[in-house]
């Protein structure tokens, strides 16, 4: 084949085609200009939007900036408006660390949030898996029972929990702080939702291979819902790390306080010494902010996942 294929609309007559091609060229230029204009308009819109979102976003994080700035000011400079401390000092931090059991509170919070999270991840997964994949007399009733506890506000339970803790001598202990949260109905519901998506054929095949029921759960089903477990862990850890009302009620001694409870007591006892309060607030929030900045993608994805299915 020697002749090149004719374009649609070409006549094969050279004069006609050359005029046609000129027309086409002009039309293309006009179209490109219009697209360029739209593009530019869109780009301006993007820039305006970005500036607005940036201003809003800086407003969102400004309280943290002001917290850190204030924490670096000396007591006599604390009411100055400058964003740069006139004579930056770490003295406030030193004073907070000396006056309080900050390190102990931090460790308490880590221990409590970690153990609670591991427990919730394990038991909620197990219960969710069972309620998704096993049919036995009473299984629906058990599911409804667990789900119904979601409606009960924590505040209704703290008084009975407190009486229990007194009765069993759990006050002022790690177990006392942790026991109400070692499982969560929300987590059971969330994990059940995800385990429903695991194909039954897979489980039956594993049964035929002679896997025990627990091994099927642990080795086959659980790895398939890893993102959900991760989401549940993030949710639970954050919730326990920031929990306030129950640890406030159940702790007595200063050394058993969690970080939020310790910070709350220190702040209200500080007689408006805001240079110290801001140092304490920074000590409580900056570690979380650093962790968040490192894992922000996973954390935001996890929260969205947990929020949507929940």
């Amino acid at each position: 084949m020697t002749s090149k294929a004719m374009q649609p609309g070409e006549t094969g007559v050279p004069e006609v085609d050359s005029i046609r091609n000129q027309e086409l060229e002009r039309a293309r230029e006009v179209a490109l200009a219009a697209v360029g204009k739209q593009d530019r308009k869109r780009r301006y819109a993007q820039i305006v939007l970005a500036i607005m979102l940036l201003i809003g976003g800086l407003g969102m994080i400004f309280p943290f900036v002001w917290m850190v700035v204030s924490s670096l000011k000396r007591a006599q400079d604390i009411y100055s408006l400058s964003l740069i401390p006139p004579e930056p000092t770490l003295g406030n931090y030193k004073e907070v660390l000396q006056k309080t059991s900050y390190v102990r509170w931090f460790a308490n919070s880590i221990v409590i949030a970690t153990i609670t999270t591991l427990s919730v991840a394990f038991f909620d997964s197990l219960a969710g898996y069972t309620l998704a994949k096993f049919r036995f007399p009473g299984s629906t009733a058990i599911f409804v029972l667990i789900l119904s506890t979601l409606m009960v506000p924590t505040e209704m339970l703290v008084i009975p929990w407190y009486m229990m803790s007194i009765e069993f001598h759990w006050t002022d202990s790690y177990w006392g702080i942790m026991f109400p949260g070692v499982m969560s109905a929300f987590g059971v519901f969330l994990m059940r939702q995800f385990f429903m998506g695991v194909p039954n054929e897979l489980i039956d095949a594993a049964r035929l291979d002679g896997f025990s029921e627990f091994r099927i759960f642990w080795k086959i089903a659980l790895p398939l819902v890893k993102p959900a477990v991760a989401a549940l862990c993030i949710f639970t850890f954050l919730g326990n790390w920031n929990a306030y009302i129950w640890p406030l009620i159940v702790t007595r001694s200063e050394s058993m306080r969690t970080l939020p409870v310790g910070i709350a007591f220190f702040s209200s006892e500080s007689q408006s010494s805001f240079h110290l309060i801001m140092a304490a607030a920074s000590l409580a929030t900056v570690p979380v902010i650093i962790i968040f900045l490192i894992f922000q993608r996973q954390i935001i994805k996890g929260i969205a996942l947990a929020g949507l299915k929940g």
Binding site: Q46, A50, L53, G56, G57, L58, M60, I61, P63, F64, W66, M67, F123, D124, L126, A127, Y129, T130, F134, F136, L145, M151, V152, P153, E155, M156, L157, I159, P160, W161, Y162, I166, F179, V182, M183, A185, E213, F217, W241, Y244, I245, P260, V261, I263, A264, S267, S268, F274, M278, A280, A281, T285, V288, I289, F292, I299, I300, I303, A304, G307
Partner: protein
């Protein structure tokens, strides 16, 4: 004796669910019923005698001005805080959705407050609200103020709501963004071809399809605002819900009656938590009704 395969599987099911079931019975269901039981008693944990007094606690509630105040305040926290948070977060989510670049960076900016402790940020806001603090200083440049903020009985509750909205915004934005992403682009393109304006597309396509997301955020928002406690304790004067009880919430009043008053009024406080529970129950039922209507 040999068990059939089905029976054996039942046993596994019971074995797996046993510990969680015992937990929920002992730590959730039991205490819920116990709280109702306690609410019918005059209950001081130190006293030997805890007499049954029937509905007396509830009758006292009706005449308790502070309880009514806390109930009213709690509904202000809900009625102002939830809509304000939803409108702001939806606007920001719509903006973020249109961003092509730096989306991760912007999301992180808006989400950051959500991960921090409400106790700590409550005190940071309290510092900014001080009579000679940041807000009044900045407002004085444009000749406004000074305001008393947390010291003013008319203003304090709204100052606390602002902090609550700020802290919860990130969560709501992320949920809205997920909801917006689930709207098929074809619908919007088709509407554009038909010449629909941006507002028409939002009102007639985006908003109706966003309905489940809205219901979820409204319900979680209402329930969490009904239980507002931490920020009031951190931000109100002396942490007691002042000035003049203008910021006291139901949960803070429960806490004061059960754990701070002498003698401790645990029966009375329990009666209040039963009222709170009934409100949450009513909202949950409404939610189920709305969602049911949606799927029909």
């Amino acid at each position: 004796m040999r068990l059939t395969l089905e029976r054996r599987r039942w046993l596994w099911g019971y074995a797996f669910i046993l510990i969680p079931l015992l937990f929920f019975l002992a730590i959730r269901i039991g205490p819920t019923l116990y709280a109702v039981w306690v609410s019918f008693h005059k209950w001081d944990p130190i006293a030997i005698d805890r007499p049954f007094i029937g509905m007396d606690n509830y009758r006292t509630l009706i005449d308790d001005k502070v309880f009514w105040k806390s109930l009213r305040n709690t509904w202000i926290y809900v009625g102002v805080g939830v809509p304000a948070g939803l409108i702001l977060s939806l606007l920001i989510a719509l903006g973020l959705q249109r961003m092509i670049r730096f989306t991760g960076f912007f999301r992180a900016l808006y989400f950051l407050p959500y991960v921090t402790s409400l106790v700590a940020v409550g005190w940071v806001w309290r510092w900014m609200y001080m009579p000679n603090g940041l807000f009044n200083d900045v407002l004085s440049w444009v000749g406004i103020g000074p305001f008393k903020w947390l010291g003013s009985p008319d203003m304090a509750i709204y100052a606390i709501i602002a902090t609550t909205v700020w802290q919860g915004l990130g969560f709501q934005i992320i949920i809205f963004l997920a909801g917006l992403e689930s709207i098929p682009e074809d619908y919007l393109d088709a509407a554009s071809v038909d010449g629909a304006t941006a507002w028409q597309k939002f009102r007639d396509i985006v908003l109706p399809l966003l309905n489940p997301t809205l219901v979820f955020l409204i319900v979680t928002g209402v329930i969490s605002n009904l239980q507002v406690f931490t920020q009031v304790r951190s931000m109100s004067s002396q942490g007691t819900g002042g000035p003049l009880n203008s910021t006291i919430s139901i949960v803070l009043y429960v806490y004061q009656q059960a754990f701070q008053s002498l003698p401790a009024k645990m029966g009375y406080a329990s009666a209040m938590t039963v009222v709170l529970f009934l409100m949450i129950l009513a909202i949950t039922i409404v939610q189920l009704k709305v969602l049911q209507r949606d799927t029909e």
